[in-house]
């Protein structure tokens, strides 16, 4: 009799436990999912008009929008156009062209890149992504890849 009661009690406890567990999962699963932001699908943009040719003089740089990411376009002292991702490979700051030293500089932790995007000083671990530059009429066209 005693044994039988224990068996029944265990069974009820088991039912109660799994019921409570399932309820908790049913409550917290949606909550956890809610916390993770949905993936926003951007129209994949492979090329963009970064600016006008006469807008960027020799030895200057300019930030342009590549979709929702910043890009940097530079005209070197010799007049060549170069384009890079402007996102520092260290911790995500936005880099800038420094005319005084003719290099690319990140103010956040003093990271430095040369004009082919190579990381040459400070903490950045990787070079900047380089883009292709074409000039069509007045427009500077920057292309990925």
């Amino acid at each position: 009799m005693e044994k039988e009661l224990n068996r029944r009690r265990r069974f009820l406890n088991y039912l109660l436990g799994t019921g409570a567990g399932a309820t908790l999962v049913a409550i917290f699963y949606p909550v956890l999912k809610f916390l993770i932001p949905p993936e926003v699908t951007e129209a994949i943009q492979n090329s963009v008009v970064a600016g006008k040719v006469n807008e960027i003089g020799a030895n200057t740089g300019k930030i342009f929008k590549f979709g929702n990411k910043p890009g940097l376009i530079v005209r070197t002292t010799s007049g060549n156009l170069k384009a890079f991702s402007a996102t520092c490979t260290h911790l995500d700051c936005i880099v800038q062209y420094r005319p005084e030293s003719a290099d690319i500089w990140c103010a956040c932790h003093n990271g430095r890149y040369d004009l082919s995007g190579q990381n040459v000083g400070g903490p950045p671990p990787r070079p900047l992504d380089e883009y292709q530059v074409n000039v069509r009429g007045d427009d500077i066209i920057v292309t990925k890849g």
């Binding site: 993770i36 911790l91 995500d92 700051c93 880099v95 800038q96 956040c108």
Partner: protein
């Protein structure tokens, strides 16, 4: 009339009796009255917990006031803070006090934590008091980090980019944490909305609960005395009213300091954040993150085959976890003095020197 001696006569007394019958105030009061504070030459350190509590109350009060005008979106946040600063009567004062008090609160919190550490007040049975205190420290840093972004200015924008990117560096969970914190890939208006929610709802609720727990334990276990005085006769004073009145003097002084700082150095607003502008020169986080910032700046890009920043971030993360374990590592031995305990003290001194040194270096650099 023949007044009954055992029953209250006055209106006030009968109200007190009525409330006491229902709320049991007498019992609570009795508990408070039981608490004694040891009086000795290290007594000054007992004031920093209460000071932190006071500054937190200032935060809640001024924070709620700011909420009346603040608007949490990338389009409006900066302008709404500008409005607070220029149009709202005494808006500049309320905002400055909120910012100054946030900084002072973190400073007193650090002092409180290190004084508890060096006086070894975390030892059994006060382990959980220490653990809740360390949690409160991290929450306070979270308050500072999330609040810093709210005005949506250039400095805050980049500090948040860097700070959240650091979370992304952590192996395995980094990617998830980064998206969770930013509310997406990048720091955008979505990040601001999230940080606002953390700052004014999640963190205040957590803090209130933890402070309650922390204080309950302090009340229950009483104040510890430093090891150098253990076993010796120590004078005490009543917590209520003697110690509390001294606390109050400190709080009045704090109000004075806050008002003076806010009036003489009103908090700056800077320029509105622009996600397509280069990071401005001279960018640096709030002073309490500066030692980590400076360390990351000094670590080389590669350590052997690993990214330097990964190593740096992991070291700080392990240090943070280690902080929780202090009371479980330092268990008083039979003799009262132990090798681990002295080693911990020395490690603590080195950590303080490192933090202070790196912070100063960060300012000079």
């Amino acid at each position: 009339m023949n007044p009954d001696i055992s029953h209250p006569t006055g209106k006030a007394d009968s109200l007190k009796q009525w409330l006491d019958d229902r709320l049991g105030i007498g019992e609570i009061f009795h508990l408070v009255q039981k608490k004694e504070v040891p009086v000795h030459r290290h007594e000054i350190w007992y004031y920093f917990g209460g000071m932190t509590l006071f500054l937190f109350m200032v935060q809640v009060f001024t924070g709620i006031l700011l909420l009346l005008y603040y608007r949490p979106s990338a389009e409006n946040a900066f302008e709404s803070v500008q409005f607070i600063m220029t149009e709202v009567q005494f808006g500049w004062l309320i905002r400055s006090i909120h910012s100054w008090s946030a900084n002072l609160m973190i400073a007193t919190l650090f002092i409180h934590l290190f004084s508890v550490f060096f006086l070894k007040a975390y030892r059994s049975p006060r382990e959980l008091t220490w653990v809740s205190g360390v949690l409160l420290l991290f929450i306070a840093l979270g308050f500072g980090f999330s609040g810093y972004l709210l005005p949506w200015n250039q400095l805050a924008f980049f500090a948040t980019k860097v700070g959240t990117d650091i979370a992304g560096v952590v192996p395995f969970v980094g990617e998830f944490m980064l998206r969770f914190l930013r509310g997406g890939e990048d720091v955008t208006g979505a990040t601001l909305t999230r940080f606002f929610g953390f700052h004014v709802a999640v963190l205040p609720a957590l803090t209130t609960a933890l402070i309650g727990f922390h204080l309950l334990l302090v009340q229950k276990q009483g104040m510890s005395v430093p090891p150098s005085l253990e076993g010796k006769p120590v004078k005490t004073m009543k917590f209520f009213p003697n110690f509390l009145l001294r606390d109050l003097i400190g709080w009045i002084l704090a109000i004075g300091v806050l008002a003076a700082l806010s009036a003489i150095f009103p908090w700056e607003l800077g320029e509105k954040a622009d996600p397509f502008a280069p990071a401005p020169a001279g960018i640096r986080p709030e002073w309490y993150f500066l030692f980590m910032f400076q360390t990351l700046k000094l670590i080389p890009a590669k350590i052997w085959i690993f990214d330097g920043e990964v190593i740096g971030v992991l070291v700080f993360a392990v240090g943070g976890l280690f902080l929780f374990l202090v009371p479980f590592i330092d268990r008083p031995g039979k003799s009262g003095k132990s090798k681990t305990s002295s080693a911990l003290t020395i490690a603590g001194i080195l950590v303080v020197l490192f933090i202070v040194g790196m912070t100063i270096y960060g300012y000079l650099d």
